[in-house]
Every structure is written in C-alpha cells, then in structure tokens.
C-alpha cells in the first residue's frame, strides 16, 4: 500500500506526539509532579499509529493500562490528556479517570483499561454493535503479551470467531509483562500460534517498523470491513521505559534499552526510510518535531494552571445518569 505524503506526515506527527508526550510524562513523574501508576508507550509508537491509520472516529479501539499511545493515535486531544494526567477538572475525563482510564468515546477511543484482559470482551461488543447496526465499522483491541494469557482474552478470540465479528486483535508483544518474560508466560512463546486455534488468520509483525504494521493492519481491517471476521496480529517490539514509572528494570539485560533506542527506534527507522526514499525531507520531519515540542510544553503549562475538580461538586456526580 502506497502512503500519500499527507498520510506519511500524519503518521510521523502521531508517532512524534506519542514519543514527546511520553518523554515529558516520564520527566514529570520523576520530579514527583504526576502521581499514580503511569505506563509509557515510548518505543511502541508504530503499533498504535500503524493500526489506527486505518480507522476513523466511528471505528473503535480499546486499549490497556499502557494507553497514551493508543489515545493519541486515535486522535484524542493531547491537552485534554495532559490535563487528565494532572487530575484536572478539564481533563478529558474530568480528572476522574487518570492515566489508566483515559478515554474519549467521541473519538472511538473506548478507554485505557487497568484490568489486564478487560478490553477484549468490550471490543467484541463494539464490533457487534458495528455488525448489528451495519455501519461498516470495525473494532480493534490492543492487548499485551501478558494480557494474552488472561481468560477473558481467549474467550473473546473464540467469540469473535464464532460471531464473525469485524474485530482485530492486536497483541503488542513487548517481551515483558511487568518483569516477566513473554517467552516464559506465553506457552510456546508466540502469540500468533494461537490464531489457528480460533480459526482466524494470524500475522506476526516487526513492531519497530511502521510500514510493516501499517500493511498487516490494513489487510486485517479490510478483511473485517468485508465481513470476513477477526484477525490476530502479534506485534513484536520493546518498550523504552520500565513497566511503569518507578520500575528499576533489573530484569532486563544490561544495555538492552540503550541498544533498542539506538538500533530499533521506530521514529528513527521511519525517518530513515522516508528520507532515503525521498518521500519526505528531514526538514518536513524537523518541523513536526518542533511543532510537537511546543504542543506538549504548552499542554503541560496549561495543565499546571488549570483548576482542580471541586470535591463538593464533582465527587458524587457521574455515577449514574439518573438514580
């Protein structure tokens, strides 16, 4: 699939936004400014962006605890996200959700989800709604290697196949679930081997390579749109930070992260590929880098001066629509 200049610029912009957002959040967490459990997506950008490039606002995705990248790729407002992480009233979830529950239904982003395996059943529902209402839309559920072992995930694979849902299971295999290696926790090592068990196609993809992800995801989405049912994608790559902020990462090999950053950075790979093929220029990309830097800095500045929710008003609202 040949990508247009606009599409390429957009893909890079999204990936750069994720990277800069995450690097910034990392710093903010280190200084103690951000609280809670925060899981960063840096290094995995090609997956979210490569998949979501095929989707519009009515296609739906469900994410995991590591959700910032999926949000950005799906078009969520970056300022609203930053405010949310700061727990501010004007955050995308009013400050009530935080990093692990960030969502924007209006963008088809059905939420980060802090229950590992929480998303796949919900995604079956999103896909079922599309099928029932004949919208031609699809759903995508992102799950980690660790989450691939959750019973809810397996059930969803089977249900999606039996119901022939327009659903793509994207397994983001970054090699670890917290500190546990996926080669150990996933029997047999490869998640893609589970696809035949559920009678669906499965594809393993180099997740550092935006173009590989983009192509595999495109086929899966097309298949789903044609009504041919679900596909399993296993995206293999590595995360640039710890499991969550504060993780000392002693379970990783010495130099592993440095090597990843040096040799496998999906943004660097993208840059090399598009500039060497003369699809985009370094200047195009540099301009985006600068633009995004400003965007993220601005969102932090805005978050800092934004009001907190008011416990008297906001604590008890939004539990029910009516009670």
């Amino acid at each position: 699939m040949q990508l247009s200049r606009t599409a390429l610029l957009e893909a890079y912009r999204k990936m750069r936004t994720i990277r800069t957002f995450e690097d910034k959040v990392h710093d903010l967490f280190e200084t103690g400014e951000l609280p809670g459990f925060v899981h960063l997506y840096a290094g995995e950008e090609a997956s979210a962006v490569g998949v979501c490039a095929h989707l519009d606002d009515e296609d739906r995705i469900i994410s995991t605890h590591r959700g910032h990248g999926h949000c950005i790729a799906k078009g969520c407002d970056v300022e609203g996200m930053m405010l949310e992480l700061f727990g501010r009233r004007d955050g995308v979830c009013g400050g009530k959700g935080g990093s692990m529950h960030i969502a924007d239904l209006s963008k088809g982003m059905m939420g980060a989800n802090a229950i590992v395996g929480g998303g796949p059943p919900l995604a079956c529902g999103a896909a079922l709604a599309a099928k029932t209402l004949k919208t031609g839309k699809v759903a995508v559920t992102f799950t980690g290697d660790g989450g691939s072992n959750q019973g809810t995930t397996f059930e969803s694979l089977n249900l999606a196949s039996v119901w022939k849902l327009p659903l793509i299971f994207v397994f983001e295999n970054n090699g670890y679930a917290e500190s546990t290696g996926s080669g150990w926790s996933v029997a047999g090592g490869d998640i893609v081997r589970r696809a035949p068990a559920f009678n669906m196609p499965g594809v393993q993809v180099d997740g550092f390579d935006f173009f590989a992800v983009h192509e595999a995801a495109g086929e899966a989405v097309e298949r789903a749109r044609r009504g041919e049912g679900p596909t399993l994608l296993e995206i293999k790559f590595g995360r640039f930070y710890g499991h969550h902020e504060g993780d000392a990462q002693t379970y990783r090999a010495k130099g592993e992260v440095a090597k990843l950053k040096a040799e496998k950075d999906p943004l660097a790979g993208f840059r090399k590929r598009v500039t060497s093929a003369a699809l985009l220029t370094a200047a195009d990309l540099d301009a985006i880098d600068a633009e995004i830097e400003t965007l993220i800095e601005g969102s932090v500045a805005l978050a800092r001066k934004s009001p907190m929710p008011d416990p008297k008003v906001d604590l008890l609202t939004d539990v029910y629509i009516r009670y």
């Binding site: 739906r60 469900i62 955050g91 995308v92 979830c93 009013g94 400050g95 009530k96 959700g97 529950h101 969502a103 924007d104 239904l105 209006s106 059905m110 939420g111 989800n113 802090a114 229950i115 929480g118 796949p120 059943p121 919900l122 995604a123 079956c124 529902g125 999103a126 079922l128 709604a129 599309a130 029932t132 209402l133 019973g151 809810t152 059930e155 969803s156 089977n158 249900l159 039996v162 119901w163 609202t317 939004d318 539990v319 029910y320 629509i321 009516r322 009670y323």
Partner: protein, 336 residues
C-alpha cells in the same frame, strides 16, 4: 377481566415488547434460542427456563444471539455494545456464575460513566436467575444480589410478582445505566398475577406497599415477599398488623418509604434470602438504625438464610430458606 400471566410469561412479553419498540435492543446468552450448530430444531430451548422461547423466530439471529459458554466475553460484549449504540440484554443463566465474569460489570460497565468523566452511557441489562428451592445445590441456588448492590454504578432490580417483572424489565431496558435484573427461579411458575398487555414501566426506587399496617414493618425482597405475606396473614389472626414493603429495586433503594413506615410502626423485620453478612437485610437494618432510630421501639430483626452454602438435600434446603414461621416469630419478638 384480569389477565393472568406467570412470571415467565410476563418476562417474555416484556422482552418481546422492548424488542418491538426499539430496534437497538438485542438479547444474548447461552441457549437463549438453542440449537445453533445442531442438526435439529432452532430455538430448541428458548433459555434454560424457557423465558426467551419464541423470540428467535420473531426477531431472528441478528437480534437474538446465542453464545458459547464464555460469560466474560459475552457479558463484556453486551457492556461494550451498550456504549456503542445498542441496548443489549444479556442473560447470565444463574447468578452463581458471576464469579467467571464479574469484572465486566464491577470494573467495566459500572465504572465507565464515572471514570470517563460522565461521558459514557451504558444501557445494558443483565438478566439472571437466583434463589434456592429448586434442589440445585450450592453452585446454582445463591441470592448474590448484595454483591451487586455494593457496587456503585450498577442498579439492581428484584421483582417479586409477574406484574412487577414485566414493568421493571421494561424500565430496565429503557434505563440508560447498567442494570442487573434478578429473577427467582421458583417464581417462574409460582408467581402468577394480573399483567396488563400494553407495555408499562415501573419506576426504580419506588417500593411497593404490599400491605399496610400499624404494628410492625416488614421489608422483604424478591421471593421473600411471598413468605412474608404468609407470615403477615398469620400475624393478622393474632391482631398484629404488618406493613409489608417490597423495595422492588435494591439499588436505588426507596429509603423514604422504609423510613416512613418505621416511623409509623416503630418496629422492623427484614426478610432476605441472601446470606446475612454484608447482605441486604443488614443494609436496611443499618439504614433504619441511623435514620429512624428515634422511632424504633424494639431491636431490628433480620430473617435471612444462614451463613452456609445452599445444601442439596431437600430437607436441608427447606430449612435454609427463611420460612413464614421464622418471619412471624421475629415479628412477635419485636412486638413483645
């Protein structure tokens, strides 16, 4: 002339009517039609207890969906679809099975609206069977609604009559919040009463005064309403006039009706088939011990199932279920 339906028929009529009135309503569950992938008849079961029988024929496979035995996946699918424009009604065959799928309600459906800052709407209904008396033993006889009432974001509905079953199910489906709807397996055939044909909705949080009386308030839940009614009949012969309240929904709970009644009678007995610890009886007793304390003339008595699993042997199971005799005895105690 009164149109008499069973609880089962009333539920089926409600389902048919909501399916007719709203094309976004779908129904799903294990064997709710039945016969899929089998060589014989379709709609072979119509649900474990026959409640959904006939819907498949009328509404077809796109709206009446059988599922594999994968409660997390399909209950979750119902929850997810509810955020995407459908109004799914999912059947959890027995509430005892909540343990394999609770997360999709506890942490997903119940919390979306709050976690997402008020921006989600999750109009899903989980229909489920509960209760003892059918000789189905420890894993098929529980009354686990206290576990759902504990969870903010869920509404919990427990009809005791065929009339209420229809009206409350219609309300549940039209409601924009997640609802867990409890059907007592013994009532499917036992409860038979007047049910108007035209659709009607019974509002949540409005208790039914089954019987008015001056002496003692009895709050009873689900099937226990019938047990309490028998107790009240006995007590009437002893000149103890019972005010019998059926809350109908336990979340929201019609606190005002209960409190007003206790302010009048000064005495309260709560009857609940669920286990006693952190149960609905305790919930209501605590409410009254706080907000109607001044009116109370006697200890608040709870008549519940014991703190044991449900036994199989009929003689044990019968002793497990709160009896009209136990209710009457409790009422006499608070009158003494």
């Amino acid at each position: 002339m009164a149109r008499i339906l069973t609880y089962r028929e009333a539920l089926r009529e409600a389902l048919r009517q909501v399916l007719e009135e709203d094309p976004t309503v779908i129904v799903m569950g294990e064997d709710i039609a039945g016969g899929l992938g089998a060589p014989g008849e379709l709609d072979a079961w119509g649900g474990d207890m026959g409640v959904t029988k006939g819907l498949f024929g009328q509404f077809g496979p796109e709206r009446i969906l059988d599922t594999p035995i994968s409660e997390s996946a399909y209950i979750g699918a119902a929850v997810g679809a509810a955020t995407c424009g459908l109004r799914p009604i999912a059947e959890l065959m027995f509430v005892d099975f909540m343990g394999v799928c609770f997360d999709q309600l506890l942490n997903q459906g119940a919390k979306f609206r709050y976690m997402f800052g008020g921006k989600a709407k999750t109009p899903v209904v989980i229909r489920t069977q509960y209760g003892a008396g059918y000789r189905t033993a420890a894993q098929h006889s529980q009354s686990l609604y206290p576990l759902f009432a504990h969870v903010p974001g869920l509404k919990v509905v427990i009809p005791s009559t065929a009339y209420d079953a229809k009206g409350l199910l219609i309300s549940s489906v039209r409601d924009d919040d997640p609802v867990v709807f409890f059907e007592h397996k013994v009532l499917y055939d036992e409860a038979r009463d007047h049910v108007p044909e035209a659709p009607y909705a019974i509002p949540f949080g409005e208790a039914n005064f089954v019987r008015e009386g001056e002496d003692v308030t009895i709050v009873a839940i689900g099937r226990m309403v019938h047990v309490a009614k028998r107790a009240a009949d006995k007590l009437a012969q002893e000149k103890i006039e019972v005010e019998l309240i059926d809350p109908r929904t336990i979340s929201p709970l019609d606190e005002d009706s209960i409190l007003e009644s206790v302010e009048k009678t000064g005495r309260l007995v709560v009857v609940d088939e669920a286990h006693p610890r952190c149960g609905m009886a305790a919930d209501i007793a605590a409410l009254v011990a706080d907000k109607a304390f001044k009116s109370l003339k006697a200890p608040v008595k709870c008549v519940t199932a014991p703190h044991t699993p449900v036994p199989f042997s009929p003689v044990l199971e019968d002793a497990f279920i709160p009896s009209d005799m136990a209710v009457a005895a409790a009422a006499r105690t608070v009158m003494a």
